[in-house]
């Protein structure tokens, strides 16, 4: 079995097709940025993108991924290592406390901004409601999503202007 993840084709050997994507990423591919919190789609710590849509990888069997493209938190930075707008906002605003939920939060924010480049407060609250933060960093997450959205918009405008 093969898996397309972060732009690479990775071979998996004979993994049980029922294995949740989460454990394939963590145990088989060593991509441990994606976290285990509950295993039942309640916390969002395991959020990744499958063809650009956010999914809870703990409850997403590897067989369902098929040929889809998986993006994890490890796949967000540019090839030169430059952080993307969401990651950068998370660092600049010092969002994390323990940080355990934050990969999932970042992926949920990434999915939101790909779908809605200019989200309002309610959009942010609704999109991020699936992700728990036990440390209670929601106030900074909200702010960081707005900062990242603004960065992305100005980058998009700059590249439009250049064309």
């Amino acid at each position: 079995m093969d898996l397309k993840v972060n732009g690479e084709l990775r071979s998996l050997g004979d993994v049980d097709p029922q294995t949740p994507l989460l454990w394939v990423l963590r145990d088989e591919l060593g991509l441990v940025g994606t976290k285990f919190g509950c295993g039942i789609s309640q916390c969002g710590a395991c959020t990744v993108l499958v063809d650009g849509q956010s999914v809870k990888s703990c409850s997403y069997p590897i067989s369902s991924v098929a040929t889809a493209e998986v993006t994890t938190v490890e796949g967000l930075a540019g090839s030169d290592g430059e952080l993307n707008a969401v990651q950068q906002a998370w660092v600049d605003l010092d969002v994390a406390q323990c940080g355990y939920c934050q990969a999932g939060q970042i992926m949920a924010a990434e999915a939101l901004l790909r779908a809605k480049p200019n989200p309002g407060d309610d959009d942010i609250d609704q999109a991020m409601a699936a992700n728990l933060c036990r440390c209670g960093t929601y106030i900074r997450i909200r702010e960081a999503v707005k900062v990242a959205a603004a960065t992305r918009r100005s980058a998009a405008e700059a590249s439009d202007a250049a064309e």
């Binding site: 145990d27 950068q88 323990c98 355990y100 209670g136 997450i141």
Partner: protein, 752 residues
Amino acid sequence: MTALNYADIGDVVPTVTGEPAMASDANASGDLRIGKLDRRQFLKLTGLVGGGLMLSFTTPRALANAAALQPNGYIKIDATGILIYAKNPEIGQGVKTSLPMIVAEELDAAWEDVEVVQSSIDQSLYGAQFAGGSMSIPMNWDSLRRSGAAARAMLLEAGAKRWGVEPSSLSTRDSHVVHAASGRKLAYTELAAEAAVATVPDPRSLTLKKRDQFRLLGKRITGVDNDALVRGEPLFGIDQSLPGMKYAVYQKCPAIGGKVASANLDAVKAMPGVRDAFVLEGNGNAGELLPGVAIVADNTFSAIQAKRALKVEWDESDASKDSWSDAKAEAERLRKESGPEVVNTGDVDGAFASSARQASGFYTYHFVSHATLEPQNCTAWFKDGALELWAPTQTPAQGIGSAAKVVGISPSKVTLHQLRCGGGFGRRLYNDFTTEAAAIAKRAGVPIKLQWTREDDMAYDLYRAGGFHQMDGSVDDNGRITGWRDRFVTFTNDGRRPVSGGSLGPGVFPAGLVDNVRVEQTALPWKNRCAAWRAPGSNVFGFVVQSFLDELAHAAGRDSLEVLLEVLGEPRQMGRRGGGMHTGRAAGVVELAAREAGWGRELPDGHGMGVAFYYSHAGHIAEVAEVSVGDQKQVKVHKVTVAADVGPIVNLSGAENQMQGSVVDGLSTMTSLSVTFENGRVQQSNFDRYPMLRMPSTPEVAVHFVDSDYPPTGLGEPALPPLAPAICNAIFAASGHRIRTLPISEEGFSLA
């Protein structure tokens, strides 16, 4: 009760005994054991290969071992850069950033030049290394500052020699030694080799900066791990991996104290990916190793599948039969009888008899779980009679001790690598998961990663105990509070002492503030383990006493803020030897929070404001909440205003984050979280039945710090206790409904 003297906290360390030493609040009792270190501290200087400066404070204990000099300490400067070692576990409280900042401030290093490294566990070198009781900052403040200042003095001496000038003609700035008269400057890295042979200063001779000279402390500094975090790099316990590592799970009896009678081990071993399955007997200590069945597999999913297929016959003859409904019924009975006294000052009965008005209420709060988002886990490798652990623990030294005991080797044969913890809140003060991993690794013969599922985590926590308080109080003709009685029903695990965080002591509010106070305490036997949970004791007592104070203010027909300030009274130090609450600092934050929140202003229809103050973990914190309540009892929290006097701020960004997080955690917990027990079993198994607060219910939280030169404290805990009473008092102001049960969902309330 052991009084904790924060004035010279730099000199005390908790003694390392069986149970983690928890710093506790003024109102807790019994659990605190503080041992004095020799006042003298010694600087240890070690030459580095290639030349460089390495120094640290050591205790006399360490100096005795100084023959085995190792390159260890807080600071390492060589030609390539400046390293600062972070000594304590990072659990989300920010100490991996804030402790090195303290060193860098006195070293006068530019923060961009500093690389922070997590230190090894070596208590002979570093003193106590743990994360608990909001103690990391107060316990290390002085020694870290002196450590930085000492290195700076040696760099100055090296610069003076190099240039042939007086050290007093030199200054330092941004990792450089500067000779202003000639305009010359040299980087610390260039002087490191010469500084390494400079005179080691007497730590007490060093002059430390005044607060207005700080260049780094008090600024907003992003966490040192943030870049790695947002890239998803391995940082946490759960991220650990070793060549040839197998994945383990461990099934214990759903009722604590049950033993394995039989299990379908052969069937489990035959499952795909399963390498082994075996019974462990437990070592009789529920905080270390409970009996159970271990499964070792090729990956986590196979291990979890096998655990699901595992069938165990449990011998429950000694197992827990704990029942919340029985405990509640017993408390209902006990509230009508007087119990053993903890505090009895003045004449409460007389005050009640001569009062103008009285108020009464029966307060209840449920058990709750720590629910760290990273479920407990530990990676262990037992090889050639030695054990190596990779552990997300708050108390690494105790983890080493328990692991050594259970595998039968000397603690000196155990190495523990401290890894970032995905949340602590007190849960990881206890090393049951590391002890299990050690025992499984010994039997498995290969490196294993023990992974608890969320269900394990909920079922085998050391819970924040529930409790019951029958409150009675009186006011006189002038509306002054004259009498206060708190009849407390708590729990005991060992039949002797109340559980940690479930014990009232002489410092409990309002002892010493109201003339006639009686506190009684009865403990019900309880098998499920209870332990420290973020701001132990205070997190529930704050709710009860600050809510009931509000009840008395209303009974007197007076403004709640006015009554709170009246009870605090004249500015004075309440604790012995400079420890404990200072009523002036308390009143200061109460007034600040009230002013910032606009206490007394005209509120929109249906809105109400509540105020509460609590002193815990050396922090004086007041909070004002503004809420509105819908006709279906939906509470909308419009804003929470926090005012804190916690000493000088180390990292403003981290400090503000802790305060906001404490408010969110407090709100989450008081709204809908409870763990209930029947027939010894925990009734909640995962987050679907333990619904933590999510972003849409998160209120605006404004944080105000008082400029303060008192000794600093840690901020992981003290902002949580005032939250619940501030909200409940606001709910009363908005709706006339007095909340006396947490979570408030028990009274039909929810968050809008």
